[in-house]
């Protein structure tokens, strides 16, 4: 870092920014490795180390920059190395590829063909990052800086206009004007319910606090399985969240902030901690921020591992050191939240949108998106999809564009069946509704919700009853257990679903689940409970025939439910390689070498090892 002193005013901030820009301009060539959790899990850490070492060994350190950033969003092709300024992208890079990359691309300016991205649909190779359809069709506003920033170095953020929105807010606007700006931008909470952010800020600002204390909190308890955009932002661009929170705190009149982050995200906690320290060192956080007289600081609180703590009152209870149990919300947390003070709670992605709006204006922002849902939304596109990853798109884009144009369709040419949005509180949207424009209101009409933006794509091999059972099982474990409809109701719902998937379903079960589901929806205490039946009700609504097949014919059409399927070996395809017989834990497979094998159904436990290990697709599930 160039300067480690506290900046006393905006001029000093701008001077520092100018110095950083000059410094950055000096190194033209840089090799960027994406090292978010996904990247690291694929070995990106080793790749980055190898790059540093090779460059140093060759004495190129002065002319070539080696940089590690957070997640770029395209998880399916990790580890990724991008060479700037041309933005040449290499996918699935291993440490062994590194010498070749350096000698070919860095020294000889040639392309390493075999490491280029190959389009799963057309099969052609693409050299530059910006030409890959996955990136091309997105509108990256919030996520874009991830690819350019080393999250552990605040200078990278400053180089990209970082904290300029804060300076604008502190010195050129009154708190009320900021709230007005956020209100007219139309920004709605990205955490699930989609409450207008500006209105929330306003009510916290106007709420009575007997000692003047107010809190702003960042909800980073990203509990929806299948959603990880918050993790990516925390890991890759923590300063955008911090800047958003300082602006929010200034608008609201709060001096204490909290980030409540899941303990399952160690890298996010680490990068955020570093970012907070650097912001404090620069005088962007703490006492008298940039000489404005405004004081604000942020604490990190690691969650204890409970999905319910994404709910505002449960989150605040847990911050206070109590069990994460929601309370009735007739008195809003904006009036009486943490320690009984007015408290503002916004999600990670919401906070990250704030600096953008302040910098570029509400008019610009409100032109993106649909009537009721403004701006972009980050979705995590996972499950049975080719281009798995995080995608940022304008509100109102159709499901079809997300799944096919950006997502590259379903692997192995299989048939798309449904997409589950909104996490455990969401619902499944069937293939027939693929043209649905995605925004807060249209998803609700379709029986699902936006939630935090998880999109789990399912193909014809996904059993919808099994999926419904999965979510109910998840919620049964995650229910805090306070109110009867949620605790007992979900438990009985799980009983019924288990019976159905295990072949004990009976007539009337579907209707009973509908009645029970409506009851839970109507009467549970908090949002976890009232939305918990959505996965069941939406799958009954669109896939009733699958439930009926399980109940009446004791058949799982997708071939998933273990009790309803059998494994057999196709004698025509079996080569008698004996691998399955060796792998079978039960010794249920017999057969001579080079002769078709047979599975003894009385011994088979349906573990699927034989199918996994068969190289000839000879194991049939029916």
């Amino acid at each position: 870092m160039t300067v480690s002193t506290k900046m006393a005013n905006v001029t000093e901030l701008e001077e520092l920014r100018a110095r950083i820009l000059v410094e950055h301009a000096a190194n033209h060539l840089s090799l960027v490795t994406s090292t978010g959790t996904c990247g690291l899990a694929c070995g990106a850490g080793e790749v980055a180390n190898a790059l540093s070492k090779t460059v140093a060994d060759l004495g190129l350190s002065d002319s070539v920059d080696i940089k590690t950033t957070g997640c770029h969003g395209f998880c399916a092709i990790e580890p990724v190395v991008v060479i700037y300024p041309e933005r040449i992208l290499y996918q699935h890079v291993t440490p062994e590829d590194v010498p070749e990359i350096i000698s070919e691309s860095v020294i000889n300016k040639r392309i390493v063909e075999r490491l280029l991205f190959r389009d799963p649909l057309t099969g052609e190779t693409i050299t530059h990052e910006q030409d890959i359809p996955f990136y091309q069709k997105q509108t990256k506003l919030v996520l874009d800086k991830n690819r350019l920033i080393d999250p552990t170095n605040i200078d990278d953020y400053l180089a990209l206009d970082g904290y300029s929105a804060l300076a604008k807010a502190l010195f050129k606007s009154q708190p009320e004007q900021i709230i007005e700006e956020i209100k007219s931008s139309g920004l709605r909470g990205r955490g699930g319910a989609g409450f207008p952010t500006g209105r929330k800020w306003e009510s916290v600002r106007n709420a009575y606090s007997y000692d003047g204390i107010r809190y702003v909190i960042c909800n980073a308890d990203e509990g929806d399985p299948g959603a990880y955009m918050d993790r990516s932002l925390l890991e890759g661009n923590p300063h955008s969240i911090i800047e958003g929170m300082i602006i929010g705190a200034y608008a609201i009149g709060a001096h204490d902030g909290y980030v409540y982050v899941r303990y399952e995200y160690p890298l996010a906690v680490n990068n955020l901690t570093i970012a907070l320290e650097q912001a404090r060192e620069y005088g962007l956080l703490g006492e008298d921020i940039l000489g404005s007289g405004f004081n604000f600081d942020i604490n990190i609180s690691r969650g204890g591992g409970a999905f319910i703590c994404g709910e505002s009152t449960a989150l605040m209870a847990s911050l206070e050191g109590k069990i994460g149990e929601p309370r009735a919300k007739h008195i809003h947390t904006s009036e009486s939240g943490l320690h009984g003070r007015p408290s503002d709670l916004n999600n990670v992605e919401t906070w990250a949108n704030v600096p953008l709006i302040i910098n570029r204006g509400a008019d610009w922002y409100s032109r993106i998106g649909t009537k009721g849902s403004k701006g972009t939304k980050i979705f995590s596109l996972v499950g049975k999809i080719n281009n798995t990853g995080l995608v940022e798109v304008p509100m109102g884009i159709s499901l079809k564009e997300i799944i096919y144009d950006i997502g590259g369709g379903i692997p192995n040419g299989k048939k798309f069946k449904a997409v589950q949005t909104g996490g455990p509180s969401g619902g499944c949207i069937p293939e027939s509704m693929i043209d649905l424009p995605v925004d807060f209101d249209r998803l609700v009409e379709a029986g699902s919700i936006m939630g935090s933006g998880g999109m789990i794509v399912m193909d014809k091999d996904t059993c919808m009853v099994d999926v419904a059972r999965y979510f109910v099982n998840f919620l049964t474990e995650e229910s805090c257990g306070k109110c009867v409809p949620c605790r007992e109701g979900l438990d009985r719902m799980l009983d019924i679903l288990t019976d159905i998937t295990e072949g004990r379903g009976k007539e009337g079960d579907i209707e009973l689940m509908e009645e029970l589901g409506e009851t839970i929806k109507d009467t549970a205490l908090c949002a976890l409970g009232t939305s918990a039946p959505n996965p069941v009700l939406s799958t009954i609504r669109y896939f009733r025939d699958e439930y009926e097949a399980h109940i009446r014919e004791k058949r799982c059409p997708a071939g998933v439910c273990k009790s309803l399927i059998t494994f057999t070996i196709d004698a025509a395809k079996c080569t008698g390689c004996m691998v399955c017989a060796r792998e079978c834990p039960q010794g249920a497979i017999t057969g001579k070498k080079k002769q078709p094998h047979v599975i003894d159904q009385t011994k088979c436990i349906k573990c699927g090892l034989c199918r996994d290990n068969c190289k000839f697709d000879a194991v049939i599930v029916s």
Binding site: S479, G481, P485, E488, E515, D522, T523, L525
Partner: protein, 222 residues
């Protein structure tokens, strides 16, 4: 004071009180389990739900935690309320069929079958004992442990704490321990025993004798 409409009747209530209290003041009976006048409000059993009408829309809320508001329109006995209450009652009975309080309440509501698996948990986690111990006895030695379906009421490490004075209040206030159902056989989760008794056709006057008993003019089983 705020003015509100409960079951079509205009009434006034002190601001800061709850819809349940306002309704009881009028002699309207709303069944409750986790509510107790002397303890803080908890809102967990959801049996006291009422319908709150707002224009063309309505929602169900637990009346014990719902503060009265000016111009509120409340229905305590609508079809929707009754339908949902019955399912909640079934859920409660299926987790705790051996409570006379629950069996009586179910009989009064006309619940005539339990369609869910019987689990015999012997506790409905209403938390009355927890709050009694903390708020009335200032001992605070029992609490909720675990979460979800594993949630239960216990002392720390299941050990008897020094602070416990053996007051017995936790047992006394419990709707399951104190009034156990002694029926030999349950049919569909219902004891049926009480229903075989001749119903007391009308209460002469309502003295809030027990929360599970109806008001004047209603059919009541003892």
């Amino acid at each position: 004071m705020v003015e509100l409409l409960i079951n079509g009747i205009k009434t006034q209530a002190v601001a800061g009180t709850t819809v349940l209290e306002a309704a009881r003041e009028m002699g309207i009976i709303i069944p409750t389990l986790c509510y107790h006048e002397g303890l803080s409000h908890y809102g967990a059993c959801r049996i006291c739900i009422v319908e709150v009408v707002k224009g063309n829309r309505s929602s169900l809320e637990a009346s014990c935690t719902l503060p009265v508001e000016e111009g509120q329109v409340i229905l305590t006995d609508s079809e929707r309320v009754k339908k949902r209450r019955k399912v909640i009652m079934e859920l409660l009975l299926s987790s705790c069929p051996n409570s006379k309080t629950l069996q009586d309440m179910a009989a009064n509501m006309g619940v005539n079958e339990v369609r869910f698996k019987i689990k015999n948990r012997d506790c409905i986690l209403c938390g009355l004992c927890v709050r009694y111990c903390k708020e009335q006895m200032q001992a605070g030695v029992i609490g909720f442990v675990g979460r979800g379906t594993s949630r239960r009421v216990s002392t720390a490490f299941e050990a008897k704490p020094e602070e416990c004075r053996n007051c017995g209040g936790c047992e006394w206030i419990c709707p399951v321990c104190e009034r156990a159902c002694t029926a030999d056989n349950l049919v569909n989760g219902l004891c049926g025993g009480c229903q075989n008794l001749v119903p007391v056709e009308t209460c002469p006057i309502c003295v809030h004798c027990s929360e599970s008993v109806g008001i004047s003019g209603q059919k009541v089983y003892w």
